[in-house]
Symmetry: D2
């Protein structure tokens, strides 16, 4: 007899722009919101009985209604409110997971005019569980960083399939995906984001790197040191290879000037750095 395991359902990628009108300049919140709900949902799976199912269309409506009600809030505050609403108002629902991506806009030449900042995306994921509590994990995606020097790679294992030469000077580039877990839900979210981001950028620039793993660990420790409200940092760092082009066949010297920016394959470094007193929190990462 088969049995139903863990499950959840929701509405993904609700795109909402929230404009808050100001006297000098308007403020924008440009979000991509995904909600998913879990709880007493066996019946809908086993027999298609929707009696416990709040439609995903309603979840979408709720995003828009809360965007109006809550005004110009940080995405963490929005996600917390939304998660509490679903669990609090729907008896069969015991857990909600709310994820928000926030896209940046820079001021344009007039107070009502904006230029999209096409790079990094700010993220947050709130899991609100009726009995297990609430976790907040925020972070950044698609933050692309590059150092033109201060990176070496040597002293590695050489087996019979190794052909890579050692290098004492290479470009180090990565597209950062980082997540940081907060100790509580009472945090100055904007300040925490800014401080964590600044620590990450500083760690990348300051670390004289012998491996991308070393840089990863430096990023994690610097973020933990900068923001006491954060107890765990997870990083996914693709190694965006920039290979020095061999110009010798053309009698040209390539003195670390001309690089081939490769697409695939790429190195992929994943790791976690925790505060010494951090607890396990599987719920936060579910």
């Amino acid at each position: 007899m088969p049995r139903l395991g863990s499950n959840r359902y929701g509405k993904a990628e609700v795109r909402v722009l929230r404009v808050s009108r100001g006297s000098e300049r308007d403020a924008l919140r440009d979000w991509n919101v995904s909600s998913s709900l879990s709880g007493d949902l066996a019946a809908v799976h086993l027999s298609g009985d929707n009696g416990h199912v709040l439609p995903t269309d309603t979840q979408k409506n709720t995003v828009y209604a809360f965007a109006q009600r809550l005004g110009d809030v940080e995405p963490e505050a929005f996600a917390l409110a939304l998660g509490e609403h679903f669990v609090g108002s729907q008896p069969p629902i015991t857990r909600a997971r709310i994820a928000v991506e926030q896209y940046g806009w820079r001021p344009g030449p007039a107070g009502h005019s904006f230029v999209r900042d096409g790079g990094e995306v700010r993220t947050t994921t709130v899991v609100h569980d009726e009995t297990l509590g609430t976790t907040v994990v925020s972070g950044i995606d698609d933050l692309v960083l590059l150092n033109t020097t201060n990176s070496e790679f040597w002293g590695f294992v050489k087996d019979e399939l190794t052909t890579l030469p050692e290098t004492r000077d290479r470009i180090l580039a990565t597209q950062v995906s980082v997540r940081w877990r907060f100790r509580s839900t009472a945090v100055d979210w904007a300040a925490a984001h800014d401080a964590a981001r600044e620590a990450l950028l500083a760690a990348f620039a300051d670390t004289y790197s012998y491996s991308l793993q070393q840089t990863l660990y430096a990023m994690g420790t610097r973020i933990l040191g900068a923001v006491g409200d954060i107890c765990e940092v997870r990083l996914t760092l693709p190694n965006k290879h920039h290979f020095l082009v061999d110009l010798a066949p053309f009698d040209l010297v390539n003195d670390n000037e001309v690089y081939l920016a490769a697409d695939r394959p790429y190195g992929l470094i994943e790791g976690t750095v925790l505060a010494d007193d951090a607890d396990e929190a599987p719920l936060a990462w579910s």
Copy 2:
């Protein structure tokens, strides 16, 4: 004091085409292979000491070398061999995770000519751990299915933010991402894939659906019933909404003929179906 948590590193998206020459028709294996290794890797994180690090470039070389040696094998067999190789040959490495995407090709009008099958992708992920054992999870991505009828949605919760009308006839469409976990590593991989895929398609076509969750559960149970080697099925089913277009303003009757295919937002249904005797296997899904 910060501490290093779980971590892994490897080479992602090594694109390899393996041609096996035949008298009537050649055989292709068109793969995207990603490897990642874990083990005694604290030093590289803490001080940049690469003494335990087999370069990701070598992992890439290994993919190509094994593709030559192993010949026209199923992706599961390839991933198993690769995982065992890394753990077996690198003392500091205690775990390897090998993921393969296989792209399909249809025969063209000559035995050396092929037409890419641009749709679904066959996947496998092998985790080989020195002490915890070996797991194989295979599946399919990007399999897009659509039923023109035999789907209803009504009887759901209505709260004060619900505006969705009930429907007794709608299009049901989804882009299946499915993973099935095998009980062992001694399986006829090709036969298992074909049987699981056929069971999934049949479940989708045969189930008169009152919710996508019901269809998900039917898919899982049918796969478990069809392939005894499989003990767990996880499904991620976006609800690719096709909304009936309101043509009444134009004095046209839309008798379930003209639909708007929407992009975002979309419903997202995720669930697991397990055989009654299936164990927990967190390693398999790491």
Copy 3:
């Protein structure tokens, strides 16, 4: 003084699914329709006077209304009707350009169930001009073809920056984007599509190729030979490089078995083949 040059406006990417119910099996038309209109539109550019502007929202509505009215027609017939409608009904509009992408579906295991064919896309573009007449250009995008042999590349120019070795046996792979122009608007569109596609596949498979240009020209001539209604063929053929992996450092022989499938850069071959009596038709390609 600046002056307004050529211009057009419309609604892009209207996604419509048209279901035609059958006794044994339903029929699907899954389309992405884009319309754009040109004509006496100076005022809207110079002063924002919308008096000649049929809203793009209305163009979208028109796509849905015509999908209902016209039923299960070929995309060329749909685009012709739509273009004639806009030019015929809007006095300021003298030209319409209608582009349709058609996505394929394969039959599933029941008459109401379908599996998306994720590969090639069938296309058509109709330009209907009040005074210059009507042109139909159809074709295929994203048709990926591969020959495992019967391709050489040698005898090319070697300048001081050439390092490529000659080869007498290589993989030839390309992602075909092809467009064929019809002589008239009275054509059996489905039959023409099938015959042109078959001729293209046959040309790719049959041509022993010394260059991708040669294969391109063969494709064009075969299509012209197969479909008398077609007078011009334009092809865009990226050379999807598959490089033989050098396994010699590992004491392995790579006897044309293991290839690296590269992403970028890629060769790009573009060319036109015309029937001897084909006229110039700039309108068709605008």
Copy 4:
């Protein structure tokens, strides 16, 4: 008898990063370069004779060699040099088309550290023809702009399929793709780019808009006014619809605060603005 029409071939998307080392801060040129060549190329099409074909692999090498030789130059200067090289050094080649995309990087917290600017892409396309001369067309892609107000849309045509209500206040957002043609090849490229970009942003912010066409025309005229070296501007402006969400069913007032950001379909406005004395230049846009 079929005949060969216009054709070209080359290497697309050569990814080159050029680092110029500085005492305070390094300078980056992060480019995606595509070259294509035309000329006496009938033989390679008709019989596969490559005697006139400079391999696309060599074109790639040439990009890297020129990146080393030319140093930290503007993309226009690079493309001009490359085009002249191919036509000047290859007798059968009479025309070269060189396209460069330049990706932006912002300074990081150290002189060797950079943060990718993920938004707009700077582009240039040079066509160098042995007899017809040389044209330079530069521009920007993926520049996303949004005004929160000062946009109306009313007074448009209403036919029997029109349902769109008029509006006196809407969001206007677009993803600008703009190209400007220069009068000559002796231009301060960096200054021209900055001035044209600034004029475009100012036109978007300053124009009280009754239609996106009006904004397009304003952009074109402002660029022409700002940069005398430019004689033609072509703009492609998708109307990235932001629909005001109807919150009335929830007894909420939506006072232009909460918008749905839509993906598809989208309006698409294309137009050209020319200086009064601008000549026709089909070569530039080929």
